[in-house]
Amino acid sequence: MENEIPPALQGPTAKEKKYDRQLRLWGAHGQMALEESHILLINSGPGVVGLETLKNLVLPGIGNFTIQDSAVVTQADLGVNFFLEDKHMGQFRAEHTCNLLKELNPDVEGHFITEPVELFLNKPNALKPYTLVLVTAPIRPELLSQLSSHANATNTPLFYIHSVGFYSHFAINLPLAFPVVDTHPSPESTTDLRLLNPWPELVQYAAEKTKDLESMNNEDHGHVPYVCLLLYYLGQWRKDHDGRVPQDYKEKTAFRNLVSDAARTNTPEGSEENYDEAVAAVLKSLNPAEPSSAVKEIFKAPECQRIDEQSPSFWIIARAISNFYDKHTALPLPGSVPDMKARSADYVQLQNVYKTKARKDIAEVLEDVRRIEEEVGKKTKVDEKEVETFCKNAAHVKLIRGRPFHVVQAGQSIKWGDRAKSLAQMLTFPGSLLPLYIAFLAYDEFTATPNKDSLGSASQIPGAADARLDVENVISVSRKIIDDLINEAGTFIEDPEYSEVLSTTADFVKELVRAGGAELHNISALTGGLVSQEVIKVITEQYIPVDNTCVFDGIRSKSEVIRV
């Protein structure tokens, strides 16, 4: 007996032990994706936020990182940047930050590039090795445009990050279609019991378990699974309501009372746990299985409508599930059953009723997937596991439409496109942080504008020298951005709201300029946390990433996500 211990009993591997606390979130699958990634950081400015981001990616074990940074370590770096030491003064920042980051995890490979970003980007295929690119402000707009073109041409996710004083901002440029199947919805939102349209096996199971319900002894009565109770009383309700199920809130409440009144009170506890569970489940489980608008949008997407041999597996499965929905007016059954008061054997049997149906649904979808593959002449077959995962999460899959973020060019107005209307509206929402985003755009435009007083095209950081003068300039830029947005939206904002928008934005500008381009360690660390979290979501294709811009206000300790 004792020498027949299967391998699993030898306990976790060294890697599983080290990564235990994160594997419980994104699993071995997500971990593998991280380990296969190579992340490039183009580090500019004070450079703290970029390194704080990388730190949180090296720790969970990305495969490779590369830091491009041509700066030389100065005194000012030493206080604010934790990944430098006094002895590194005057040497390349890329080299020493890379080495100190590498210390955090021997499983991660670190590389650095010290040539200036212009030269680096002009090399052929310079960006080819990287899975994802992070770039921190300030960077010249033509270089940012170049990075943005690369991102869109190669579907490489690109992050643009600001951390200035008490404020920060980051924008994510994802591929045009970025689908997530494994969104990790909260367990409460995933329960799908199909009580309004049960299939024959479930009906039969419930009928067996509620046979002679009224005459059962207390012990048996108190162990009937609540799913069966609800189906039983729904049957009663239907009889009295022309075959209809409870429709609105009022009827559901009446139905709830019906169930609640049927509970026995002559028990030692004075109540029955299974009836309590049934009563609690009424309002949330008696809803028609209507897919969310996000799922319907996927079904309607052109990629789902037009499948060809190039179509990624996500779209082929989506199409098969869309067909399934058209046929059954229901998504494939997820097949999980929440825990409930029941005898062990009854519960396991109930689980099997759901699991069997879920497997049947998966088989049907899989068959359709194979038919579609055949039809379009797809060479490589979609993995069965992928179909299974998709079916289980069908109600919660999410599609994000990536789009290029704003690259501010000196003297050119910003185009807001189809978002202009909703954003112009948002400007007037109390407490909105859109004005902070606009302040950042104005800040970038000021930085992109060649300094009249200096030779050449040296950029200037607002507030680096004369804060008072720069504040006026940046405020007037921000005002123009606001007016352009309102114009493009074809609307009008009246006073006093308009003046309020201007003064809110002006305050954000003043605070930004006050910092003179300085990074505060806490704000950079916090922003590095946010950005690294989003990088992990994008690389593992799990959880739901920011769509598409996030700002943080460290004075009020508030964030906001804006779809720009």
Binding site: A8, G11, P12, E16, K17, K18, Y19, D20, R21, Q22, R24, L25, P46, N56, L59, P60, Q75, G79, V80, N81, F82, E85, E103, N105, P106, F166, H223, M340, S344, A345, Y347, V348, A467, D507, K510, E511, R514, A515, G517, A518, L520, H521, N522, I523, A525, L526, G529, L530, Q533, E534, I536, Y543, I544, V546, G554, I555, R556, S557, K558, V561
Partner: protein, 441 residues
């Protein structure tokens, strides 16, 4: 020494100029006023001096604590103390970035302090204490300008909260120590600022962190349905029956393997699938997922408040009438909710009124005391209870325990009047909880 009133950069006289050059970024912000700074804020020397002089305490040198030490040292704090009783485990390395493989087994506080001190160069002193917060008395806590908590235990939080509330002496403004507290769980977390006695305290907010409901014993014993039920059965029942006398060490792989095998067998017997070694470990050790990114966010949010409180360079969270609590969720996009949690007048720690507690007058005193473990608003483990007139039950000393034990089987209605006030003490907390028992029926 003159105060710098203008917006120009002035070097701190106490330090050579190149030492101040290190703080160029921070100084740019401290040398200027902003649109939101209080009119009384004096840019320049004052905030820098305050930062340099402030002695702060970080409680916990784990996921949050490591981040906090780095954040404070990189924000100009120079005199930082840190308390942690734990030693380093290999599963800490995915986020507690001050520790390396070769540090496994050493004290967290000591290693963390050394690493940050070395990295930050001269001028930053980090003083570790490897032990429990309960080892220290009011005099110890009194030396700090503020206390920043990065703990994973609710109990320790409640202890320090009650201690700091108890320390407040209205005659002595220096006795009020701001408490900044961070907590994380997976992609979620919170950062909050408490001015003891002035604003909502940890105890006021206790119901925001309700404990998970325990699975009833009869389910474990007779009708398991989930793999977790089988593991809990092995943990609570099988171990007690078959290895009585052995003290369960959840860090001992042999012990976990034994529980895993027991649970697996039981699961097979009931046709339940899904018991794994990792799940066994998770259930038995009550493991909460933890990642570097959330810790970075919450720790930095806390230290950002510490920085603002000490320097006054911008408004902080936590002053009466303003937001004091930031809730963070990162699994679905990025979401923060920052609000003012209201102080509760019937808070057992910082309020004056006793808190009403709904009770079933037919339940026994014993059952009532057991229920205090699970009630979100109480969460007490070893309560001693008395009314103004009589002692109902004492956990210790043994003589009193014996004298009051017979009350445990009495109905509440036999012992107290409806609405009567009771005082409850628990050895884990330096305070007396006052409740008013209100009969349900």
């Amino acid at each position: 020494m003159t105060l710098a009133m203008t917006g120009t950069v002035e070097l701190e006289p106490s330090q050579p100029s190149n030492a101040r050059a290190k703080w160029k970024h921070m100084d740019t912000v401290l040398d200027r006023s902003g649109p939101f700074t209080d009119p009384d804020f004096r840019p320049g020397e004052t905030p820098k001096e305050s930062l340099a002089r402030a002695k702060v305490l970080v409680i916990g040198a784990g996921g949050l604590g490591c981040e906090m030490l780095k954040d404070l040292a990189s924000s100009g704090f120079r005199d930082i103390h840190v308390i942690d009783m734990d030693t380093i485990d290999v599963s800490n390395l995915n986020r507690q970035f001050l520790f390396r493989q070769e540090d496994v087994g050493k004290f967290k506080a000591e290693v963390a302090a050394q690493r940050v001190e070395k990295r930050s160069g001269s001028g930053v002193k980090i003083t570790p204490y490897c032990g429990k917060i309960q080892d220290k008395d009011e005099d110890y806590y009194k030396q700090f300008a503020m206390i920043i908590c990065g703990l994973d235990s609710i109990e320790a939080r409640r202890w320090i909260n009650a201690t700091l509330v108890g320390m407040v002496d209205e005659e002595d403004p220096d006795s009020l120590k701001p408490l900044i507290d961070g907590g994380t769980e997976g992609f979620k977390g919170q950062a909050r600022v408490i001015f003891p006695t002035m604003t909502s305290c940890i105890e006021c907010q206790l119901d925001m962190h309700a404990p998970r409901a325990a699975v009833p014993l009869c389910t474990l014993a007779t009708i398991p349905r989930q793999p977790q039920h089988c593991i809990e059965w092995a943990h609570i029942i099988a171990w007690e029956e078959e290895r009585k006398g052995d003290i369960l060490d959840t860090d001992d792989p042999e012990h976990i393997t034994w529980l895993y095998q027991k649970a697996l067998k039981r699961a097979e017997q009931f046709n339940i699938s899904g018991v794994t070694y990792s799940m066994t470990q998770g259930v038995v050790k009550n493991i909460i997922p933890a990642i570097a990114s959330t810790n970075a966010i919450v720790a930095a949010a806390c230290c950002n408040e510490a920085f603002k409180i000490i320097t006054s360079c911008n408004p902080c969270l936590g002053l009466p009438g303003t937001d004091n609590y930031m809730m963070y969720t990162g699994d679905e996009s990025v979401y923060t909710y920052t609000f003012e949690h209201q102080k509760k007048p019937d808070c057992p720690v910082c309020g004056n009124l006793s808190r009403p507690l709904q009770v079933n007058q037919d339940s026994t005193l014993g059952e009532f005391l057991d229920s205090l473990t699970e009630r979100p608003e109480a969460q007490l483990k070893k309560p001693t209870i008395r009314t103004e007139a009589k002692s109902l039950y004492y956990q210790s000393p043994p003589s009193l325990e014996e004298q009051t034990r017979h009350n445990l089987s009495k109905k509440l209605s036999e012992l107290v009047e409806n609405g009567e006030e009771v005082a409850i003490q628990d050895p884990a907390f330096p305070t007396t909880f006052k409740y008013k028992l209100v009969f349900q029926k």
